[in-house]
Point group: C2
């Protein structure tokens, strides 16, 4: 049985955007902080993993957003590691309002990395046992992210500064959303809502890199397609249903 | 007698920089959130002020930093409006660790703005009475910020994007620190600590502006001097004692 963890949070003024709604980057920071506390609670702290040269790396998120929380709102963040197979661990997050109505569901795929070799290592059964995640044979299916490559337009270049990097000396992938969303007109951001979002992470972005944000908006299906590229390497691909 | 407000906070991984210490921008966000809660508690919410077309605007901070809080650390944030005169209100903030040792003291100067005319209005005695601030005749003295203008070097230009602006459609002045600190080498940031800091805010920065960060480091007194300029207008001037 998966072990659930829940925490209460009040949305702060610095976690919202111009529309007073929680930003995607703050949303990810909040849920990642909840998983950190959860893992700590069940005795799998990141410090302990680091001492074994191991680290969790997220590869994909699928988000269903009924309603983005707003400034001042009290929300509940719930999380559990739901399932795992030889290489992948599947963790879910739910955000609720005070009336226990679900606002957001996020499903994610994680791998375990050997921090010395930077290579994937198999799921540690002992760790997975502690989380209560169910062992499964096949990978879980996530929506396939398919970008219309020939229609993507290079929109903006960024230069990674001190304030973009975290303790691991790379850009926290929560912030990729800032660079992607900024490629859409402000008037569009103000008057549209995200219904669902899929993002896949590939290569990390380091200090003083110059990532480029590519975008295409398809008016027929109301989807925006995003790619963050770092030179020839793809840092992330994302599809947003508005 | 000033009325004090105190809150507990655990420093999150997304509030720290590469050295695992709280960033200046997160520090300001945390203390401003504490004053918002404080004002709410004593019945002077910003919503009520907005209904009267009034808003608080900070003009200056003086910070003394004994030790920056670190990731995971539990801190206490205390604040009070200490004094006011005809136009200025003086608010202080203190950060403590769990052993009640003071880590940081911040003194700040606030004015009240008529949001329609964008002009300063006199301190409202009724509001000030609620805060318990002491009425004083003369302005309080803050360290004078004097930049070596001829030695300042234009370092970096920024372009204000969606993720830089807040609900008021301007750049939150907490984030000015990010742009200022980024003008110093990463090796310097990693191996030095801020002892004190003075910043004065002048003009706001809006969406799609292109502010420039100017810097000069004086090795003799271990001070860095910073200016953020937006075209011909000075957005902020800052002196940091390292």
């Amino acid at each position: 049985m998966p072990l659930y963890y829940e925490k209460k949070h009040q949305v702060q003024f610095y976690e919202v955007d111009i529309t007073s709604q929680l930003t995607l980057s703050s949303l990810l920071n909040l849920v990642i902080a909840a998983s950190g506390e959860h893992l700590e609670e069940i005795g799998v702290s990141s410090e302990e993993l680091i001492s074994r040269h191991l680290g969790w790396v997220v590869t994909q998120y699928h988000m269903s957003i009924k309603k983005m929380p707003e400034k001042g709102q009290t929300i509940y963040i719930k999380t559990a590691a739901m399932a795992y197979n030889r290489y992948f661990c599947y963790r879910s997050y739910w955000l609720y309002n005070e009336d226990h109505e679900e606002l957001i569901e996020i499903n994610s795929v994680w791998i375990m990395l050997d921090l010395n070799t930077r290579k994937m290592v198999p799921s540690d059964p002992e760790i997975m046992l502690k989380t209560g995640a169910e062992e499964i044979r096949r990978p879980q299916k996530f929506p396939r992210i398919k970008l219309p490559k020939e229609q993507l337009v290079a929109d903006k270049s960024y230069f990674v500064e001190y304030f973009n990097i975290d303790e691991n000396e790379h850009v926290s992938n929560a912030h990729y959303f800032d660079w992607m969303i900024s490629s859409l007109p402000l008037s569009f951001i103000k008057s549209n809502h995200i219904k669902s979002l899929d993002i896949k992470y590939e290569h990390e972005i380091l200090y003083h890199d110059s990532p480029k944000s590519y975008v295409h908006f398809n008016q027929e299906n109301n989807r925006s397609y995003h790619k963050l590229a770092n030179g020839n390497l793809t840092a992330a691909e994302c599809v947003i249903q508005w």
